[in-house]
Structure formats: C-alpha cells, structure tokens
Amino acid sequence: MANARGSSRRVFLKTVVAAGATGTVAGAQVANAAAPAEHLDLPPPKPSALPPNAQVAAAEVGQVPNAPEESRKPGSDFMVDVMKSLNFDYLLTNPASSVRSFHESLINYGGNKMPEMLTCMHEESAIGMAHGYFKITGKPIPVLVHGTVGLQHATMGIFNAWCDRVPIIVIGGNHLDAATRPPGVPTFHAAQDPNAIIRDFTKWDDQPVSLNHFAQSMVRAYRIAMTPPYEPVAISLDAGLQEVPYPKGEKLQIPKYVASAPPQADAAALREAAKLLAEAENPVIIADRAARTLAGMRLVTELAETLQAPVIDQLGRLNIATNHYLNQSARGRALIAQADVILGLELSDFWGTVNGYIDNEDNHGHGLQERGTKPSAKLISISATELLSKSNFQDFQRFQPVDIGMAGDAEASLPLLIEYIKSALPAGKKDALSQRAERMKKAWAENRARSIAAAGIAWDAQPISTARLCAEIWNQIKGEDWSMVSRDSFHSSWPTRLWPFDKYYQFIGASGGYGVGYGAPAAVGAALANRAFGRFSLNIQSDGDLMYAPGVLWTAAHHKIPLLNVMHNNRGYHQEVMHVQRMSNRHDRVANLGGGSVPVGTGIENPNIDYARLASSLGMWSAGPITDPKDLAPALKRAVEVVKSGEPALVDVVCQPR
C-alpha cells in the first residue's frame, strides 16, 4: 500500500511535469513547482476505518473504480498544489462530506502544511477567525465549508468581512452533477448555484468545472480579494472534480500570482484637494479604514503633521497613535463643527460623520437630524468602496454630497496627496502651523487628564467599572509586546483612551457589519496570527457575543493559541437593553424587568452563565466570576502567566454595562 501510494504520487508528479513541460505558457508555472518533495515517501497513515470496497466506493462516488493505477490521482491533489502556490499558512474548516476528497488531500498529500488545517466548531467562527487573522497579517486564510448548510452558517461572518473590507477565500463543497451525486444527504447539501446566497456581499465567485478552471479561478479569486477594496470571494468546489482521477496526460497549470497595484485617486483631484487643505484655517482629517498596513498608519501621521491638522480616528483600523498629539478623536464633533475643510479617508459613513442624528421623538418619531458642519465647509472624500457598490444590503449608508470625491484607495493615494500639500503650503503658513500644533498639544494633554480623572469615578464599584477593568489589564500587560484583538467601544473605549496604541497591530477595529458573534472568533484568529510574532494577545470579550459560538474557545485550546480573554460580563445584550428602555420612555411606560435587572428579553441572567466553567470545560485555563475589583489583579496576573506559557486563558469579570 505504501509503495503503491508513493509510486502513484511519483507517477502523478511525472505526469504533471511532462504536461507542464509541453504546456507551459508565459506567466504560468507547472503544478509540481509547489509540490512538497518531502511528502513523496510518507509512511502510510493508519486508517481510522476500513477502506471501502470497490462496490461501496463506486456507490459513493458514482465512478468506475477500475481506472489504471497511474491515472488514479484525485483532482483534489492538484487542488492542494494550487493552494500551496498561494502560500496559505492555515486553512479553517468544520469537516464536511462535500469536501472530503480535498480534506484528505490536504492532510495526506499536502502533509497538513501550508496550509495547516485548523478545526473549527462553527463555520461562522471559521470566517471570524479568518477575519481577525487578516487584520494582523494582511494575509487571507481560506475557509472550507460544507455545501449549502455550511455556507449558510458562514453567511453572517462573510457579511461582517464584506462590511469591514476584509478578504476571505471561501471554498464551499457542492455535488454539482445531479446524475452522479449520491442520493440523500449529499443531495440535500447540493445546490445549482450555492454562492447565490452570498453574492450580495462577496466581490467575486465561481464554480469551476475542470481542474485548470479551478487553478485559474483560485488565483483569480485571490487577486480580486487582495486588490483594494479588499473583500471576500467564494469558490464552489465540485465534489466530483475533487474525487475523480484526472485523465492521464492532462496538461495542468497553475497561473502565477502577481498582486495588482491598488487603485490610486486621480492626480488632478488630489492636487485640487491638496490646495484646499493647504489653505484651510481649520482642516480636519477623519480616518476610518484608511490605514491598511503599518505604512498606511505612518502616511496618515505624516499627512497630519504636514498640515498640523487634527485627526479623528474612527478606528475601523488604527490610523494614528492614540498618544500622538494630533489624535484628537475625543473632540470629534467640536472639531467637525469648526472645520473649513474636512478630508474623509475610507469612511464607512460620511453622512453620519458630518451630520448629527438624535434618536428621539422629533420628526414624527424618525429622530432629529442636524447638520454638523458649517454650511461653507468643503468636504473631500477618498474611498475605494466607491469602486464597488452593490444594491441590496445597505452598507453604503446615507448619501453624502462632497466637494471633491475620489474613487481610489486612500493609503495608495496619500503619498501623492502629501507631496502636493507640501508644494501647495503657502510660505507664510509656517507660524500658523506652529501655533496650530501648540493648540493641539495642549488639547491632547487636557483630554488625557480628563480621561484619567474620569477613570477614577466609581473605582471601587461593584459590578466592576470598565475603567477599572481596563486599567487593571493595562497594569498586567504593559510590559509585553501586546496586541488588543477586540473592539473597545463596548467598554466605553477605555483602552484607546488610556493605553498608548502606537503600533498598527495593537488594534484591529471591529466587525464591520455589527453582526454579533464576530468578537471571540476574530480574537482567536488574530491571536493565531500574533503567535508567529511572539506577541501577547488580549481580548476583552462581550458575554452575548461569546455565546453565539463558544466552541471557538475549544479551537484556541486545541491548537494552543495563546490569548488572554477577559470577559466583559454585563449579563445582558446591552445595546438592546438601552433600545427597549428608550422605547418604554417614548411610550410612557416603565420597562417590564420581569423580575430581573433589565427589560424582558434582553438579559443573560437567571441563571447567570459561569464563563470560567464553560472555558474550563473546553480545555482552557480560567478564573472567575470576579465581582470584587480587589480580586482582579491577582487573577489577571495568573492568567497572563498562562498565556505567556503558550496557552489561552479566560478570566470572567462581572462588569458595569459599558
């Protein structure tokens, strides 16, 4: 058996080499170029079950089982070669029959390396992990999902990635051929057009019908996903194509991947924008997903320093260090109101940025809308999302007219914009810029002092204040090369108000689509990425979010992904708590608490969930629930040591709502 397998692989590779030698074209590489030589003579894997006999195999795959040995290489082996050519570090999956051949090829033929398979307990968790991983590494991870059912589980995560401009390669199994697919469950899990359910929030998809088609589509999908605006893509993987041996002598080729340069804003429009900004008295820069990389963060900072203009960081990504004096995010509304020129960089909601919306009874119950800028203020936008809009899901937000609109990637456009601004700055502006810088330094210091003073209010409160929580965490991790792999707005933004975030990887933004269930898996995925760099990953975890799919804690424990999870356990779906309270007031009623502490239907109490025991049951070190703030520091200290030893840990803390 071993010889037969090894021999078979050699024959397969020789065949491909021969095919490549005769069929190579410019810009293409032959399939075996990425094939792992060290896998050619692997010992036979121990079977976990008896192999099927000829009749069973024929019944399962609907194929004639007596093909010559040298042509019995499954198509999925070649698919693995394609995957290796794209240098994926990992592949995330919840196992599924519609991808069984590809799965087998990945772990046996591919040796479970590049990509290494990670076991996930829910497809939405797998997508969330890929989402978080990308935001640390800038590399996408493929997610392998079952046909129809697995893809439907994955949809919410894909929508989040779409809204957050994150590339994810979704590969979904499917039994396309109705005449040969097995009856019963596999047919329930087959679809004519499986990617239709995610087409509204993916950038591109395909369902290859040949191996060369698969190779071209995978490389094409990768390139499309990785060209800003980054977005998810999907490949439907036909089971027959995976399992059927490909014909002897078929010429298989893997196209060479070359990244496309990102789209840059029009030079004339950039020059016009530069002139406005250079001449402005009160220019304001607002950045959301502007910095795609560390270089992008440096560029936003250079732009701000060139103009000595305040930056309002909306934190889709970390765009400027929180301890930089031009980071004036805390004064956002006031600065926007005073601005004469506003530059928006990759804003997800320009309208909401420059207008106010008050959720009250005004306007026949639709809420009060207020202009947030001077009527004379000039608005400039650079955004790659203008290059890609779809109609159904409304992530493009309300329409905001601007004075100069540029469809282009902000990070790619900033070098030219900065150059133009330097040329356009009037010679006599130097003193005005210095004075502006001094005002910004003073305002930053005052805001910092206010934040620290505010953190001391209710310092000893029970439930524990989120300021105390974040201050205690900071005391434990400040000596580490840390990375916060969770959003911070659910705990009153204390981390970005108190900690010095000055490295791009220290903050990864939020979900994008506000779909609950993103937090825990994204944190695990980001921690997986940080593991390779030896960084300390911290996740401040919302309770409701974790309970969407807590199995991701097992994935972290199983794959030894070091991550400190600190539960922000407020025992409720707190955003909804506040919404129901608002409606109760509007309708002049006292909210029905139903014997609990929050309106009926919004609490996670009675019984209270014991997150420490939950984590422990999934193989993770844990502590809590902690209710007395004095117990917080010792528990966190122990947890930090666990994480530094290479394991995940969880500390459950009963906290204030926000």
Partner: protein
C-alpha cells in the same frame, strides 16, 4: 465638665449616626430607583458615566436643572415623564447621586 463632655459626645454621636442612617436610607432608596428606572443602563450603576451616557455623579446638577432635563430632554436621552417616574422617586435618585463618593485619584496607577 466630664458630664458635659459626655453629653456633647453622645449628642454628636447621635447626630452622626442619624445622619449616616439617613444617608444610607437615601442611598438605598435612590439606588433602587436608579436601577428600577433604567438610569444605570447608560450612566453606570453609580452614575459615573459611560460611552452611552454622560457622568451624573459625583456632584450632579442642582435638582431643578436635573429634574428639568429628565422631564423634557430633547437630546439622546429619552425624557422620563412624571407618570413614569414620580417626583418622589426622582428626588431619591438625585439624593443617591449626590451621595456618591468623589473620584479616586488614579493617575499614578494609570500613568506612573
């Protein structure tokens, strides 16, 4: 002299205890109302303020201004009308907020 001192000390003690008990009662009643009417949801259980609602304590607005805003807010906070939140309960809430201790100086803890 000794008797006078003891009488004075007893009286002082009684006043202090009475004051403390009154504060505790106001504290308990007001805190219960603060929770019952959902004020804590946006402002925190001690009125310390959160990203969803500004700081109310310590040192809340004078009662008249506080009450006027609660009754007729036209901003993000929904108004609480008297039929929902009676004056007596609103006064108890204000007393609770007034009783909150001052902020702890945590500068050295956060920014050593």
């Amino acid at each position: 002299m000794t008797r006078s001192f003891l009488q004075f000390a007893s009286l002082s003690f009684a006043v202090l205890v009475g004051s403390s008990l009154q504060a505790t009662a106001a504290d308990d009643t007001g805190h219960a109302q603060f929770l019952k009417y959902g004020c804590w949801q946006c402002h925190g259980t001690e009125g310390q303020g959160t990203s969803a609602g500004p700081k109310l304590a310590p040192e809340p607005l004078p009662y008249e201004a506080f009450s006027a805003f609660v009754r007729s807010s036209s901003r993000q906070m929904p108004p609480f009308r008297e039929q929902v939140l009676p004056d007596q309960d609103l006064q108890a809430i204000h007393a609770y907020l007034s009783s909150r201790p001052p902020a702890v100086d945590v500068k050295k803890f956060i920014d050593p």
